[in-house]
Amino acid sequence: MYAQMVKSTGQGVKTREEMSPEEAHFQDRVDADEKIEARDWMPEGYRKTLIRQIGQHAHSEIVGQLPEGNWITRAPTLDRKMILLAKVQDEAGHGLYLYCAAETLGVSRDDLTEQLLSGRMKYSSIFNYPTLTWADIGAVGWLVDGAAIMNQVPLQRTSYGPYSRAMIRICKEESFHQRQGYDIMMKMAQGTEAQKRMAQDALNRFWYPSLMMFGPSDAESVHSAQSMAWKIKIDTNDGLRQKFVDQTVPQAEYLGLTIPDETLKWNEDKGGYDFAEPDWTEFFDVLKGNGPCNHDRLKARQDAWTDGQWVRDGLLAHARKKAARKVAAE
């Protein structure tokens, strides 16, 4: 998942006594791991939180096309070019499933797009970092998709049916994406001196932004508590981040690359690594629009939308004419 800092009702989880009969019944269904479907009754807060979360995830897939798309025309072999193109195409497909899932909650894709383009809705902070060398394409697959999978695998069990089903499809493709990223990193790490340098540099630049993908600690967050009670968030940010670090460190070692964290150390007692927190000031700066690529990413999406207006209008006008001609002929 690529959603960060998703706000819920902000009022904390209601006790059983505070719940209306509908809310209590709804919570029973969630607790029993039943799937909630579009036509079922649901609390307004559940619906709104889901729209925010799924919308942000969808936008991330769409904006996420850009940093990787940046290398399609420079991919070094025919196979790499095809694999990257297929991967970026998958991201667009994920965006499509997710917008469809959001639409079942009563919001249109155009509406969500408009909110992205006007800056009212966010996408993941990670896509505001540049892809500067071919190794970055490896690092994005390995680390960024790797971090996304950490979140998405549990979300296959999320309480909202359409979201859960979208996530099941997405997860199948994401694990392939991560493997292709790691495969690029292997080639680079075992390659020439220049390639090794690119690989290490990519890891240096993407490590902390990848840790930020999980969002700041949410142990005290009322939003997260509510989302977890509704099973639209399954694990805590810190829990997922720990899992990601524990999985990634041995992979970096295998590649012969160094994680840019001098404090990184195995902690026998907790059975996981101790590691340095990312710079959360930087994270909030990026969310506010001050990341290295915020302006360019949003501008690229705005331009695509504006430049494409005549195409959407033209195809719509033709469809209407065609329908009118058909009616006239009948």
């Binding site: 070094p76 072999t77 193109l85 894709r109 080639k187 331009d303 005549w310």
Partner: protein
């Protein structure tokens, strides 16, 4: 000059250069479904490139690979028609170029699927299915935008007028084509023109677009004598990593 090798380069380079151009759209199309469809088209063309250039390298017999041919030749050794290398322009021009080429590509592949050369026949049999879909889609888009709003109509007419002088090269035959036709390996491109004209006239009528009547055409792509200035820029981007880090494995 080995005519079969030359023919395979022409066929493969058309796919490579057009596939590359189409891939430039990734992430920037007017609507999500179009982004996905353009990527599909580019992927099909690049897949076909790999097959054609692998065979071209084999026929050449100098131990080169499809990647060597794609990434280590300079512009004058490319054999694609000029139509495929012109810049994308707006979405309308991209789709008009796609349609003009797809319609040719389909006819050519239908012929190649009957080739006397078994490898050519095999590649064409696979590619023709993909290209049948390409032409369906690009034709629908040309018709939709031609017969859409005043603005979309104007843009599509401009695209057709701009691209028209690049059409004729697809059907220009030379001694390579004569040799291929004689051996039953490939149809003579000139022989496809009537069927192409009929299909395109039909499409443009439906799209309410006026076919230019000039038969003048630019040439120099398929024999490499004189490409457009655009190809060099595309290659600097496409070949950059291979050129900057020679001998590296990716």
């Amino acid at each position: 000059m080995n005519a079969l090798h030359e023919f395979l380069l022409r066929t493969g380079d058309n796919c490579l250069i057009l596939g590359h151009r189409v891939s430039e759209w990734c992430g920037h199309a007017p609507v999500l479904e179009e982004d996905i469809a353009l990527a599909n088209t580019a992927l099909d063309l690049l897949g076909q490139t790999k097959l054609w250039l692998t065979y071209a390298a084999e026929v050449e017999g100098k131990g080169r690979s499809a990647d060597d041919l794609a990434f280590l030749r300079d512009a004058w050794d490319f054999r694609n028609v000029l139509l495929t290398e012109v810049p994308n322009g707006d979405f309308g021009r991209t789709m008009m170029r796609q349609y003009l080429f797809d319609q040719y590509h389909l006819l050519m592949l239908q012929g190649l699927a009957q080739s006397s050369d078994e490898t050519v026949r095999g590649i064409a049999a696979k590619a023709v299915k993909e290209v049948a879909y390409h032409v369906d889609r690009s034709r629908d888009t040309v018709v939709g935008l031609g017969d859409g709003t005043d603005e979309s109509h104007r843009r599509m007419q401009e695209a057709l007028d701009y691209l028209w002088p690049y059409v004729g090269e697809m059907f220009a035959s030379d001694t390579v084509d004569a040799e291929m036709a004689e051996g039953g390996i490939s149809p003579d491109p000139a022989s496809l023109r009537d069927a192409w004209d009929a299909a395109v006239a039909d499409t443009m009528a439906e799209a309410t677009l006026a076919l230019p009547d000039s038969r003048f055409h630019h040439k120099g792509g398929r024999d490499g004598r004189m490409h457009t200035e655009h190809l060099g820029h595309m290659l600097t981007q496409m070949q950059w990593l291979q050129r900057a880090y020679p001998g590296a494995t990716w």
